[in-house]
């Protein structure tokens, strides 16, 4: 399509889209004024019935835990796809681990800062995972913060050393156990409360660490899965970028 034709097309379609947008936006409720019935119901039951003080986690890991199962397996399947696409194929070699490669010419300041961040990120990640039902956070948020700690280690040093600390079997086990554990917690509901993903543990006192029924367990399972998933994807990409080399003389 020539530039002229594209401009003509935009000249017709642009104002049309703008008109539809204006009409659509005029129908929206006023800013900050939307109190949907579903939200009011969740606000009503999350604390009184479930004893959770963070309603987002109550929604994700109890009231609509089945939806989270779907999201879990979307992540699981996409990680499988990434590892399948980025595997070492014929005509490629994974470089010898002994050939250490510095990631970037990282300065001393970057190294010190990222090394200092590692324990803080680990502590924050664990806190977010186990306090999901009490304060903002939960399995997903805590899981990615936990995955960020090894990534900081990579900025601080050499990529191969990171791989020694996060071997494939460990991160794959974390992802698999997390995904299977979440599914099995739902099955626990089926066994002990006769409904899949129905809470089967005592609710406890609101605000205490061991409260809100099985939400903390769900949060830990999701945290493991998310941490493993992100580390698998990052190392798959970085392996390809830093370690995998095309064998000389072989057509790509």
């Amino acid at each position: 399509m020539t530039r002229r034709a594209r401009l003509w097309l935009f000249g017709i379609a642009g104002p049309g889209l703008a008109a539809v947008l204006v009409v659509g936006l005029r129908g929206l409720p006023a800013f900050g004024d939307n109190h949907a019935v579903y939200g009011l119901v969740v606000n009503g039951v999350a604390l009184s019935l479930r004893h959770a003080t963070d309603y987002v986690t109550a929604l994700n890991f109890d009231l609509r835990a089945f939806d989270t199962l779907g999201e879990e397996y979307i992540l699981f399947a996409s990680v499988l796809g990434v590892t399948l696409l980025l595997r070492v194929v014929r005509g490629e070699d994974e470089e010898n681990i002994a050939a250490e490669r510095a990631v970037y010419g990282s300065s001393d300041a970057v190294r010190v800062l990222s090394l200092g961040l590692v324990p803080l990120l680990l502590a924050l990640g664990v806190y977010l995972v186990i306090h999901g039902a009490l304060t903002p956070g939960g399995g997903f948020q805590g899981g990615i913060v936990l995955a960020a700690a090894p990534a900081c280690l990579m900025l601080a040093g050499r990529y191969v050393q990171l791989r020694a600390l996060t071997p494939d079997w460990a991160i794959e086990a974390a992802e698999g156990i997390g995904a299977a554990g979440y599914c099995l917690l739902g099955l626990g509901g089926l066994v002990f409360a006769s409904v899949y993903f129905k809470n089967f543990l005592p609710a406890g006192h609101p605000g205490q660490l061991l409260s809100a029924g099985f939400m903390p367990l769900n949060s830990i399972a999701v945290g493991l899965e998310v941490m493993g998933a992100f580390l698998i994807v990052w190392t798959a990409f970085l392996d390809q970028a830093l370690l995998v080399r095309r064998r000389p003389g072989v057509a790509p």
Partner: protein
């Protein structure tokens, strides 16, 4: 709407526009990370701290790391192709 909410909305809009307009992929990735940080403030200002917590890592580390690794791989393949053509 509070001042913080308006500032965050403008920052995200400007950042998003910058990501689309920058031509160099490396600078684009950096702008993407900064726009992710603006999004964190936006989510926080609109009372969604759960989403903000996820966005901190996904926007500033998760996505840029993957893009940077892919860029490096593509650049390397281009170099290989060029040396192959020179040898022929």
């Amino acid at each position: 709407m509070t001042v913080l909410q308006i500032v965050a909305l403008v920052a995200v809009a400007v950042g998003g526009g910058a990501v689309a307009l920058i031509r160099d992929p490396l600078r684009q990735t950096l702008a993407l990370g900064i726009d992710g940080l603006a999004l964190v403030v936006l989510f926080f200002a609109f009372q969604a701290p759960d989403v903000a917590l996820s966005e901190i890592v996904v926007g500033t580390l998760g996505l840029p790391l993957i893009v940077l690794a892919a860029l490096r791989k593509i650049g390397e393949q281009d170099r290989h192709r060029r040396t192959d053509q020179e040898q022929k």
